[in-house]
Amino acid sequence: MKFAYPRRGSEMARMTAAGLGLIALVSACGATPSQAAPGTIAVVAAENEYGNIAAQIGGKDVSVTSVESNPNTDPHTYEVSPSVAQGVGAAELVIQNGVGYDNYMTKILSASPSQTRKVINVQHLLGLPDSTPNPHLWYDPTTMPKVANALAADYAGLKPADASYFTTNATRFIASLNPWLQALASFKSQHAGTPVATTEPVADYMLQAVGADNLTPFKFQADIMNGVDPAPQDVSLETGLFTQHRVKVLVYNQQVTDTLTQTFISAAQSARIPVIGVYETMPTPGYNYQSWMLAEVAALQKAVADGISTQHL
């Protein structure tokens, strides 16, 4: 039996043309890679919170590119574009989080080996093992002072003439963290042991720092973080935290809003429990690391003290 498809050819041609048109259209919308200013140290940061600090310590001597700079980006599904890869290849200093959080950076670094490039891996800097369950190290108040000093030291190695400038910047940066540290301390003194619920372990280090009591089992947080279906007991436990008013606030990952997270937000809201959306990457514009962290604590303070939700910073 034979089949003939008249007109198919022209339809196919039209489809092909339409497809190519679409490609051309979206190609035109694409971004162009940014170039480092001449005479400065080219720095690439995997996450923009590290990029922000790298810029504060380096000041006039560095030009920083952050790979994940959009607060709406979900770092979990990040795919490297050629311009980023090229930027990393040309960078003199690369700063990344580690703990598998930015595995793509590890891969690209090994794909373009360099003798002179300095790499700050925050996980290694803090001496953490690969099996560290919670990769969101930048929420830990003890992390960034060490990062700042490491940056100053590496910059000094790259540009010894300005070594003292970098050290001064690092000292100034560490001092500027004080308002945040004070806010953490004051929250801890007023509200230590506040019961909270979370969806993912994004801000867990901060919650530990303020002495909050996170009633959500870590296994449940890990399941959501890893995209696996959680156990029914954990789900009903989590829902029970809201319906039985056992927690004062729900802290969820603002950057991963799916039906699952939405379920718990609605449950919290209908129980009139305030919710806080915390960010995995620094919201821009208008924030630097210090003011962002301060804003997160302020949101927590407002939620616990006044019952006000903060979904967006």
Partner: protein, 280 residues
């Protein structure tokens, strides 16, 4: 566009494209599209398992894709192939969900295997990729005639002494090998596109089997190269370009054969008029 890092990306993607073109020719000929989807996708569970017990992801990929290939072949003995393949892919992914649930560490890097990281291939990895690729191509070329025979007329081939069962197992193992090599480079989703679209398009343009295989390699290379170039210019994901160029070339192939059919009243006449001097 051709700096050191990009050069490695070009090279690794080209190796993958050549292997995909050759293996894909037989995947399309044998109608094994589902297996070509199931093995790379299911092998991702192997990577999850590997990270759980702390070995290299590629070991998990290799173990799972080979076990998957053998299970498809074993189940396919008694039942329809598509059912066997569907059951194997869900079983593999189910195990993947168990492995992921057992790790309390940060695991999403496993998911990067779905999309691959063609820009993250280091030049030292090129050698193993190239070697596995060569083995896969050599295996296909070695099996070329019996594989072709058993794909075209399985019963006749069996009567003429071709071990069609063994051919099937051997071919699935080559697909597993391709999977192991290609998934870390281009990801499970892309390797599937590269295995199917170029080969499907190629057979519209030529009737010669070896010609179609060669053309499939050429189309695969062209697809990958233009996808990387377009991605470089636009900063959009490579996967999008591979997928849409693949569908585009297939559409062009279908359009070409429809046009040829329209132009020639009947294929018999055409062979008379087009090849007057072939008589032997």
């Amino acid at each position: 566009m051709f700096s050191g890092l990009m050069l490695t990306a070009w090279e690794s993607a080209s190796i993958v494209a050549v292997v995909a073109g050759v293996v894909g020719f037989f995947i399309v000929l044998r109608g094994s599209a589902f297996a070509a989807h199931a093995l790379p996708n299911g092998a991702f569970a192997g990577a999850a398992g590997a990270s759980l017990i702390g070995v290299d992801a590629i070991v998990g990929l290799a173990v799972f894709s080979i076990l998957g290939a053998l299970t498809i072949a074993a189940l396919g003995r008694r039942a329809r192939h598509d059912v066997a393949t569907a059951l194997v892919i869900v079983l593999m992914l189910g195990l993947g969900s168990l492995f992921l649930s057992m790790t309390t560490e940060y695991a999403p890097q496993i998911y990067s295997l779905l999309f691959g990281e063609v820009l993250g291939v280091s030049s030292s990895e090129l050698v193993p990729i190239g070697v596995i690729g060569l083995v896969a191509i050599a295996a296909i070329l070695l099996m070329y005639r019996p594989l072709m025979f058993s794909s075209v007329m399985p019963d006749v081939a069996a009567a003429r002494g071709v071990r069609t069962r063994r051919m099937e197992v051997a071919f699935l193992l080559v697909v597993a090998l391709t999977t192991t090599m290609a998934v870390p480079v281009v990801g499970a989703l892309l390797i599937f596109s590269l295995l199917i679209s170029p080969a499907a398009a190629a057979r519209s343009f030529t009737s010669r089997p070896l010609g179609a295989m060669g053309l499939s390699v050429i189309i695969a290379l062209a697809t990958v190269w233009s996808a990387i170039a377009l991605s470089y210019l636009s900063n959009l994901p490579i996967g999008f370009f591979v997928g849409s160029i693949g569908a585009g070339t297939y559409g062009a192939g279908r359009g070409f054969s429809a046009w040829r059919r329209n132009r020639q009243a009947s294929p018999r006449q055409s062979s008379q008029t087009l090849q007057p001097g072939v008589a032997g």
